[in-house]
Amino acid sequence: MKRQYDFKDIEEKYLKEWEEKEIFKTKEIKGKDKFYVLEMFPYPSGKIHMGHVRNYAIGDAVNRYLRMKGKNTLHPMGWDAFGMPAENAAIKSGIHPAKWTYDNIAYMKNELKRLGFSYDWSREVTTCDPEYYRWNQWIFLKMYERGIAYRKTAVVNWCPFDQTVLANEQVIDGRCWRCDTEVVQREIPSWFLRITDYAEVLLEDLEKLEGKWPSSVITMQKNWIGKSTGATIKFPIDGSTQVLEVFTTRPDTVFGVTFMAVAPEHPLIPELVKGSDYEDEVIGFINRIKSLSTRERGIVEEKEGVFTGLYAINPLTKEKVPIYVANYILWGYGTGAIMAVPAHDQRDWEFAKKYGLPIKPVIKPVDREWDFEKGAYEEEGILINSDGFDGLSSKEAKEKITEFIEEKGYGYKTINFRLRDWNISRQRYWGTPIPIIYCSECGTVPVPEEDLPVLLPENVEITGMGNPLEKVEEFMKTTCPKCGKEARRETDTMDTFFDSSWYFLRYCDAHNDKEPFSKEKVDYWMPVDLYIGGIEHAVLHLLYARFFTKFLHEIGLVSISEPFERLLTQGMVLKKWISIGKLLEILGIDENVDIDELRRKIEELEIVKK
């Protein structure tokens, strides 16, 4: 009798042998061609799903193939283990986030092993392990030293359900990316990373990735960084020493300014209307708009505003134009104030129409007529009504007017980015504690390197409201490293995207207890030659990882300046399904059908006989 294909027996036998013989272990071999194949590490949610299997099956085939082709390959796996689901589980069922997480890791690790994936498990990285997150803290301190990490009070996206701050990237259509609650805005002191310092290089270096990364990902990153060139122009406020600064990408339209519009959050307005006849109405409007959720503000179609009683002077024309607070101006983009040119900006046009403000054309189309009663002409053209600049093309005028403004001291050329600094503060327990101490004498004091890690206390009560760490006395209370007096610890923890911004470096030297990784080992393995994961990480994770790599390169810890040589964004595993309603439609019946009749109809379907 020939042996049958008994997969169960076979697979169990080899799992054991492979593990015993450690055939997937890797080490640096000088002079041998290396290849680093990496799949995005999973969040230990409980069980793996088919999307994981696909992601890792692709990586495994690549690793095994290249190993057989004689490459010295690195193929590690780990766990993106901090984050909210563990805390949510604790709220729901009282299990400690650490236990929940480590139990899930154990289960999922077994699932991955069962699939025969050829990982070098000796390099496993778990981000909630103090041996990992102490290096998060260490990197944070390096950033703090160099002014890349800083604290400021800022308007932030606040999820009222999770009681936490969200990064812009975590707000999807005005809602919390995890729980779908409408996000509101709130002011709160937070820790930021100055990713905007790297905007230019993050944009420029995308060129190096052309042809190696999917072009859709490159485009998404470009748009996210959102570079635009223009001018900042200072409009003096009539009867005040203050000036209103605006950023515009269209300095060629500056002669067409007929009013100014500022965001409700603009700090200058409450100050200037104080005591005036306009104060009540203006403050009332500001408060009404600010109380709306981010989502509600995002979807308002109707432009709305209120006159402040104030005028600004256009430095080029010396004309006085009214200042409005308007709902369509965003605080956080540009200067939070605009010069409104209704003839050439549709939003300004709509606003001008509503409030009876003048529309002054200063650009005419090259090859056709334009009826400014019907809408704004937003394209470029030839300048008119613009004093000495008449007849120039928009392109020429942008340069000439910007030069003129600079000469006269009315403003300056400005490159603006859509990219914001990254707010890493989370008012959550299950994350890396930010290694900062507040002392009433010495102020903000970084935890000395030799005191790392700042351990997450195990004894906490997790209720789902606010930040659990604030209630842990023995964590909160500490002494100032400088003066030795009683001080208070920072209770914010880090956005988990911090953890995943450099984990690929730690795999190169996973057990180093002296430094985050040895430069020699990282220089041997990096860059990752092939990175495989879902397209949903096109902006967040991949941009942050690039930013960290550039920072670490700058401080001499790594030689490379881009972390991922090639990126493969794998497709999804879908499954077809039909609803009960669809089934009835196929059968040509409705829900008043008798159950036995339904059963008979299903069994008699043509398709069954095929």
Binding site: A61, Q570, K576
Partner: protein, 287 residues
């Protein structure tokens, strides 16, 4: 009179928007009917618990094994594309592995102690040459497809074709089979490592497939040594003849005129003209 569906749905807290799978479960209706309906009329969606259209990896491994799951996922589509998980697809992958298993085990006695060198493949029959060429074309294609954007799906498809050809290979030369099986197993190793390692051991090898070099094509085997070309007589194809790939016009005409089917049309006739396109066709005009 029994219950209506409406009453049944209410009792079971189901709505018309729920997955019909839940109704099938409650009524104990056969799953394969549902699969067919889904395939024909279903809507593709991302797997989600709320839609009850998930497929659990653990269940699939239990039922078909890890090798089948891996193979199916890699075979179903190029890595960057979405694909629909189907029962038919995963079963197809499983059947393929059984076919690989069976053909090697059926011939195990024949090949077990056989050794071969390249010298052995010098003067082969036409069928032997053909199967060797197929093997090395497959090796070449698998390497090319993986190196070119990791197109595992087409690489696996060509391995499947090779297995089909091996099933129709009649001559069963032990040396040729041994070479084919060794390479087949090594080519499968990145996708289905378990069955690869077991078969490797069964054909008498040591260690694990990942420790061996991936197959490289034998360039010589790729060269087509003979070619089948059509013979036209007065514009109609009357026969196909096999000739050396680089045969000259004279040699081809000579072979053609010996062919029985050709003879039928040329015997007793006068050959007016011949037109020959090397490696492609021979045209004979008779009167």
């Amino acid at each position: 009179m029994g219950k209506t569906l409406k009453e049944f749905l209410e009792e079971n807290h189901l709505t018309l928007n729920d997955n019909a799978k839940l109704l099938f479960d409650k009524l104990g209706l056969p799953k394969d009917i549902l699969s067919k309906l889904e395939e024909e009329y279903g809507k593709s969606d991302k797997m989600s618990k709320s839609k009850h259209n998930t497929v659990d990896p653990d269940e699939m491994i239990e039922k078909y094994g890890a090798d089948t799951v891996r193979l199916y996922i890699l075979f179903a589509a190029p890595p960057e594309n979405n694909f629909d998980w189907t029962d038919a697809g995963v079963e197809g992958a499983h059947r393929f592995l059984k076919r690989v298993w069976n053909i090697i085990l059926e011939n195990l006695e024949l090949i077990k102690d056989v050794e071969y060198t390249k010298e052995d493949f010098k003067n082969l029959s036409e069928e032997d040459q053909k199967i060797r060429r197929k093997l090395h074309q497959t090796i070449k294609k698998v390497n090319d497809d993986i190196m070119r954007n990791y197109q595992f799906n087409t690489a696996i498809a060509s391995i499947m074709e090779l297995v089909n050809e091996l099933y129709s290979y009649k001559n069963k030369s032990p040396k040729i089979l041994k070479e084919a099986f060794e390479n087949l197993i090594l080519m499968l190793s990145p996708f289905t490592p378990f069955i690869a390692d077991e078969l490797w051991r069964l054909i008498g090898k040591e260690g694990y497939t990942i420790q061996y070099p991936f197959p490289e094509p034998d360039e010589e085997a790729l060269i087509e040594k003979t070619k089948e070309i059509p013979v036209q007589i007065n514009g109609k194809v009357r026969a196909k003849i096999t000739v050396p790939a680089d045969a000259s016009e004279e040699e081809v005409i000579e072979t053609a005129l010996k062919n029985e089917s050709v003879k039928k049309w040329t015997d007793g006739k006068q050959i007016v003209k011949t037109i020959f396109i090397k490696g492609k066709i021979l045209n004979i005009v008779v009167k």
